[in-house]
């Protein structure tokens, strides 16, 4: 069974990197990408073009997004009764204390800073996979 992951990330470079890293970690992962907050919400709420979108098993969310930024998306997800059960992992470049605090206040499931080095990045992705997809129990997809 495939695992649906929604990656909300505006940098194509980062998208590709993430994709590569996940492919190495777990080939069963199907990575969906939304490049901005609006698209992310449309996907999650199955609006318009995303009417048949799969429901993700978890969401990887960058904070610094154009238009609707990551914090807003997070807030929107966690205030939606239907969507809030999807684990939302913040994956962002910022290691600022304020961002970390805010994210947890908005009920992010966890916060990860994108490491600078490739190796480290690959390790982080791997640990996401290990933890969230192997250890953690996720609610059944509905």
């Amino acid at each position: 069974m495939s695992i649906e992951v929604l990656l909300v990330e505006d940098s194509p470079g980062d998208v590709r990197l993430t994709r590569e890293a996940f492919r190495e970690a777990n080939r069963a992962i199907r990575l969906h990408v939304a490049t901005d907050g609006m698209e992310a919400m449309a996907f999650l709420t199955r609006q318009g073009a995303h009417a048949d979108a799969a429901r993700p098993d978890f969401i990887l969310l960058d904070l610094n997004l154009p238009k609707m930024d990551g914090r807003e998306v997070l807030a929107a997800i966690k205030s939606d009764e239907n969507l809030r059960t999807i684990p939302t992992i913040i994956l962002t470049t910022s290691d600022a204390e304020a961002d970390i605090l805010r994210s947890y206040q908005l009920q992010a499931n966890c916060y990860l800073t994108k490491p600078v080095h490739l190796e480290e990045f690959e390790a982080v992705v791997k640990s996401i996979n290990d933890f969230w997809l192997t250890r953690v129990s996720l609610p059944r997809r509905r």
């Binding site: 470079g13 990197l17 470049t93 600078v116 080095h117 190796e119």
Partner: protein, 785 residues
């Protein structure tokens, strides 16, 4: 005076039957009989002549049959010469002789006695007045045979009476003319005489009073004095009264009473000693006296009660009255001064004003002085002098215009004036010398004094400001502080201001304003609280302040901008850098060995460059973060921070085998995160710049003059040349080539920023080849109790 004929009692005759024995001339007498008759005649004659009075007899024709010796002596005749002559013959004045003759005839005719009086001048020239009685002597035939006469010399009595009458007339005249009521009282206390004034005074007519007891008009006091008791005569009783005015009460006809003063004097009269009483109605005087007494009483009361010494002086410059205060002032007893010249106590200046010179009256001289206080010198009994101020006012009295002088001892006032003058002088000196403008303001907010500085500051001349409201030069803020509102006194309002510099605005003469700082302090002066304001023109200061503020703002802004820039730059640079780094690494990883060796090398350089860039950016970010975030200053155990730092450096520590030791480390006031960073950088450096050998790092702390701790991070590394001591703390400063030692050159800059943000300083001690010690200080934390 008309002669009056009066019937009188028959005089006693020589014979018991009342008849005169007459010698019988017709019968011839014997010689013995003749001798007897002669003897009898002689005895008769002697007897008749022994009387002082004249005795004589007439016949029908008025011829003398007999005249006694006194009469003969009066005539200057002998009996023989007189016998047979009548009055005409005796050269009596015709009228008198005729009258006498007539009267003799009348007696012969009627047998009735006739008494009369007449004046007569004897041939010798003796003038006199005589009373005579002619009485008929009845003979045997039952008819008057001869007229006997007796004459008494009443010259003196008559003169007396005339005199008395004259006196009486004169007296009566005086009496009537007298201004006072005059009442003459006899020894029985009855009024014998009174004048018209008395009538008016008592409301009676004369006849209603004459013969009445004087008690009727003077109920008490008069009669008593008159009536001789058994031990004194009226004369003696009277003698006591002569000359003294006695105050009694008079009673009018209508029974109303009024006060009188009587003056008694004796009056000799035919009726005995009479008392003349001059009676003066003293109602007015009594009223005046009473009034005066009241006034005197009141005046005396006022006089005594007056706070000032009061001295009353008469026109001759003599003291007539003074009060107790004056006694004290001059240290005299009252009686020592009354009657003395006022010069005694006020040697100069007083008397001169009083004594009228030929061209002015005392009143005029006085008029000039009324109301003005004159400063003179008073002289005490012991000769010591003291300054006085006198105020004169006139006082009308029976004795003329008196001068009342209110005398005030102004010794204290003079001293105070002197002292004030001195203080003023001294103060004025200080005032003028003061570098600041000084303005003294009274409670009404008016400028009392100012100095030259203030003149310059405000562009006024002194006289333009003195007396003016201080609001003219300090429009707002000054007066408000002075003027007492209903709930505070000026003193209280002032008390708040003392010592504080207040910034206000000054207004120059030309209308321009300038900022001033004033410092207020109170000044007691002659019972008034004044406010001294030291005024400083702070234009320059204000400008400097403003400039400073502007500069600081600019600086802050630029700092902020800089920091913002640094933050944003490094934050936003992270992103592309990461991509670059990741892909070059990906490239390196995936295609290493799959491309040619050149490609490998190129990729390696790229990767390296990116890595460096990343580190640089990271450090920049850290640097900028040090300033950007707010410090959370708490009491931090510095050893805990060190441990944290070592944890982060564990890799480097392990790799180098470094030996990190530390002494007891205190609790300091710091932001923990930054303190960790600080230690991390310093210890990291110490390990990195070791050179050969194993790094030895020792961290210690010592008290650097409370309440700061001086930390030392000592290493056994390369050391630093002194010329670089400053530089190494700058941004991007590196002392080594890239292939020697890696680093961004930001580490120490970050340390410096952290330490400075904590209010401390960082420095280095070092010698090349002998390691370095970095020092920094932080505030000590208060020990937790």
């Amino acid at each position: 005076m008309p002669s009056r004929a009066r019937a009188v009692a028959q005089p006693a005759g020589l014979r018991s039957d009342g008849n005169l024995a007459e010698p019988k001339l017709a019968e011839v007498a014997t010689p013995e009989q003749l001798l007897q008759q002669q003897q009898r005649w002689r005895v008769l004659d002697m007897m008749l002549s022994s009387f002082a009075d004249f005795a004589y007899a007439f016949d029908r024709d008025g011829r003398f049959l007999y005249a006694n010796r006194p009469l003969l002596e009066l005539w200057g005749l002998t009996l023989e010469e007189a016998l047979g002559k009548n009055f005409f013959d005796l050269k009596y004045p015709d009228e008198i002789a005729a009258r006498l003759q007539r009267q003799i005839q009348e007696v012969f005719a009627t047998g009735e006695r006739i008494a009369d009086e007449t004046a007569y001048t004897s041939p010798c020239g003796v003038a006199g007045y005589y009373e005579y009685i002619f009485s008929g002597v009845i003979g045997i035939g039952g008819t008057v045979e001869l007229v006997a006469g007796a004459t008494r010399d009443v010259t003196t009595r008559r003169a007396e009476r005339e005199h008395l009458v004259q006196l009486e007339a004169r007296y009566r005249g005086l009496l009537e003319a007298a201004p006072d009521a005059m009442v003459v009282v006899d020894t029985d206390g009855e009024i014998v005489l009174l004048n018209v004034q008395a009538e008016n005074q008592f409301g009676y007519s004369r006849d209603e009073l004459i013969g009445q007891p004087v008690k009727g008009i003077i109920p008490e006091g008069f009669a008593e004095r008159l009536i001789a008791d058994g031990t004194r005569t009226a004369a003696e009783a009277l003698a006591q009264q002569i000359g003294t005015g006695i105050e009694l009460i008079g009673r009018r006809r209508d029974q109303s009473e009024f006060p009188i003063e009587i003056m008694l004097s004796p009056l000799e009269s035919a009726e005995g000693i009479l008392v003349t009483a001059a009676i003066r109605d003293i109602t007015v005087r009594k009223d005046a006296e009473r009034h005066l007494a009241q006034m005197e009483g009141r005046y005396r009361g006022l006089l005594e009660a007056a706070p000032d010494g009061m001295v009353v002086v008469n026109g001759r410059g003599e003291i007539v009255l003074l009060n107790a205060r004056a006694e004290k002032q001059f240290r005299y007893w009252r009686d020592e001064l009354i009657g003395q010249k006022v010069k005694r106590i006020i040697p100069n200046g007083f008397a001169e004003r009083l004594i009228a010179d030929g061209t002015r009256t005392a009143a005029e001289a006085l008029a000039q002085q009324i109301g003005t206080g004159i400063e003179l010198t008073g002289k005490r009994k012991d000769g010591s002098e003291f300054p006085i101020e006198i105020m004169l006012s006139p006082l009308q009295s029976d004795e003329g215009v008196l001068v009342t002088a209110a005398i005030r001892d102004i010794t204290a006032r003079k001293e105070a004036e002197n002292r004030l003058g001195q203080v003023e002088g001294r103060y004025r000196g200080l005032l003028e010398a003061a570098p600041d403008g000084m303005v003294v303001v009274n409670q009404a907010g008016e400028i009392f004094l100012l100095n030259a500085q203030a003149e310059k500051q405000f562009g006024y001349r002194r006289d333009e400001l003195v007396g003016q409201k201080v609001t003219n030069i300090i429009p707002e803020g000054f007066a408000e502080r002075l003027i007492a509102d209903g709930t505070r006194t000026a003193a209280e309002a002032l008390a708040q201001q003392i010592g504080m510099g207040i910034e206000l605005n000054g207004l120059r003469r030309n209308g321009s304003t300038f900022p001033i700082e004033i410092m207020l302090s109170p000044l007691e002066s002659a019972g008034e609280t004044l406010v001294t304001a030291a005024i400083r023109d702070i234009t320059v200061r204000k400008e400097a302040e403003a400039n400073l503020v502007v500069k600081i703002e600019e600086l802050n802004r630029s700092n902020e901008e800089l920091e913002q820039f640094a933050y944003v730059a490094s934050h936003d640079l992270q992103e592309p850098l990461r991509i670059m780094a990741s892909y070059t690494q990906l490239l390196s990883k995936r295609y290493k060995g799959k491309l040619d060796s050149d490609a490998d090398e190129f990729i390696a350089f790229a990767v390296d460059g990116v890595n460096r860039m990343q580190r640089l950016i990271q450090d920049l970010l850290t640097y900028s973060r040090v300033g950007k975030t707010g410090l959370e200053l708490l009491g931090v155990p510095s050893d805990r921070a060190l441990q944290q730092a070592l944890l982060s450096l564990s890799g480097a520590v392990e790799e180098s085998g470094a030996l990190v030791t530390h002494g007891p480390l205190p609790e300091v006031v710091a932001d923990e995160v930054q303190l960790v960073q600080l230690f991390q950088n310093l210890v990291g450096n110490a390990i990195k710049y070791q050179g050969a050998g194993v790094p030895h790092v020792h961290i210690s702390a010592a008290k650097n003059g409370a309440p700061k701790w001086m930390f030392s991070v000592q290493d056994s590394g390369l050391g630093i040349e002194s010329q670089y001591f400053e530089r190494i703390f700058g941004m991007f400063q590196r002392l080594h080539k890239r292939d020697e030692y890696d680093g961004t050159g930001m580490g120490l800059a970050i340390c410096k920023k952290i330490v400075e943000r904590h209010g401390g300083t960082i420095s280095v001690e070092s010698e090349p080849g002998h390691g370095s010690t970095f020092h920094f200080d932080l505030a000590a934390s208060e020990p937790r109790s």
